[in-house]
């Protein structure tokens, strides 16, 4: 997929490039799937006048803010979602992913269900980092890395801080993995991780309920997710603290 980016100040281009999806490359073609424009604000002509920063997706204004970081965050989110919904040969599922002994542990879930926290603890325990945002499936049901830095919410803040896998003592994976375990977990204060097994069909539904192109390409999504579930065990339940859950999950895989 190709994106075009226009900026009113050259320096902004570097800031936007930092927000592109992992693995992006420059393209020589001028034909693009979507174009984004960033107009950098700042001091206006009149005294005390400040112009807002503006972000456009195509012709539509996506955001305006005095804080340029708001726009960078929105740009990243827009590009990421567009790729996840329209990628022709991959199926993007909103999920955390780590690698363990050559197989992937996939943790699908809605926002603020505790995916990133659990992924971070699994990485601390020795797992290889794949993603805290998307499980990217190919047609054979293997998961590819989408290893952007982990987006951690600290001190109850809504804004996320980015930390690389190395900050948790781990490293990012490079190649695709078959799925070994699917974990459908939801953080609940004080809960103990006592999951129930899911059938392969239920596992597919768990993933499908977090699949970005589920409505756009249901046939392709079902095919890829059915392949993935065919090689994996699947567990569902509430979990308490991530450290304990991570220990139990790895133990269930023979750690």
């Amino acid at each position: 997929m190709r994106f075009g980016v226009r900026v009113s100040e050259a320096e902004a281009l570097r800031l936007l490039a930092e927000r592109l999806p992992p693995g992006w490359r420059r393209a020589s073609s001028t034909s693009v799937d979507r174009i984004f424009s960033l107009v950098v604000g700042g001091e206006g002509r009149g005294r005390g006048v400040r112009r807002l920063n503006l972000l456009y997706a195509g012709a539509a204004r996506a955001a305006r803010s005095r804080d340029l970081n708001d726009l960078l965050e929105r740009f990243e989110s827009c590009v990421q979602l567009y790729v996840a919904e329209h990628a022709p040969r991959r199926v993007f599922v909103h999920a955390g992913v780590v690698g363990w002994r050559g197989r992937a542990i996939v943790i699908p879930g809605r926002s603020r269900s505790g995916k990133t926290t659990l992924v971070a603890e699994l990485v601390r325990a020795g797992a290889v980092y794949y993603s805290d945002e998307y499980a990217v499936f190919d047609g054979e049901g293997r998961v590819h890395p989408y290893a952007r830095p982990l987006a951690v919410r600290e001190g109850g803040s809504l804004r996320q801080t980015r930390r690389p896998a190395e900050a948790f003592g781990g490293c990012a994976g490079t190649g695709p993995l078959p799925v070994g375990l699917l974990v459908a977990s939801l953080y609940e204060r004080g809960a103990r991780w006592r999951p129930r097994p899911l059938s392969p069909g239920e596992a597919v539904l768990e993933m499908l309920s977090n699949t970005v192109p589920a409505r756009r390409s249901p046939g392709r999504a079902l095919a890829a997710l059915s392949c993935a579930a065919g090689t994996a065990a699947a567990l569902a339940g509430s979990r308490g603290e991530a450290v304990r859950a991570a220990e139990a999950i790895l133990k269930s895989l023979g750690a």
Binding site: L52, R61, A62, A63, R64, S65, D70, E73, R74, S77, C78, Q80, L81, A84, E85, F92, V93, H94, R110, S111, R112, E133, A151, L158, R159, S199, P200, G201, E202, V204, L205, L208, S209, N210, T211, V212, P213, A214, R215, R216, P218, G219, L222, A223, S226, A229, G230
Partner: protein, 154 residues
């Protein structure tokens, strides 16, 4: 009367994927996905619009290599109709009163649970719903399908 009821499975605007013991069905109109366990799937596949319920009972029993009570098939038909996986045909016979899975478990005994039909269903998300929440304010528009609630596009 029940011999005149010939249930017909809906086939249009559905995407079907078969697993070893289950069938997944995606309804492209309602944007719902269903997982049919083996019994529910066998009943659904037998609903060709020409076969009466008594014959479906025999057919499903043969495929499961176990006797199947007629109530089990009616329970499957109830669920299939509830999830819009049957075509609207002639009204069902009055004798086939709807029965819950729980009541049937009690009636048939716990040992029969393995062959009781079960359909699990979800509403599939929009693209924006399958994404992390994004901070927002009065100046940033949330993606379609989301709205700004307490500083986050939810």
């Amino acid at each position: 009367m029940s011999e005149r009821y010939l249930p017909a499975a809906r086939r249009s605007k559905l995407v079907v994927s078969e697993l070893a013991d289950e069938v997944l069905v995606y309804d492209t109109e309602a944007h719902r996905a269903h997982c049919l366990n083996r019994t529910a799937a066998l009943v659904w596949k037998s609903c060709d619009g020409e076969t009466p319920v008594s014959r479906i009972v025999e057919r499903v029993g043969g495929q499961l290599s176990a006797p199947v009570a007629e109530d089990v098939v009616w329970l499957a038909l109830d669920q299939l109709a509830e999830f819009d996986l049957l075509l609207p045909t002639a009204p069902r016979p009055a004798a086939s009163s709807q029965i819950s899975r729980r009541k049937m478990l009690r009636r048939l005994g716990i040992t029969a649970a393995v062959s009781l039909p079960l359909i699990t269903s979800i509403v599939s998300p929009t693209a924006a719903q399958a994404q992390s929440d994004i901070p927002c304010n009065e100046n940033t528009l949330c993606p379609e399908g989301r709205s700004c609630i307490a500083g986050l596009c939810e």
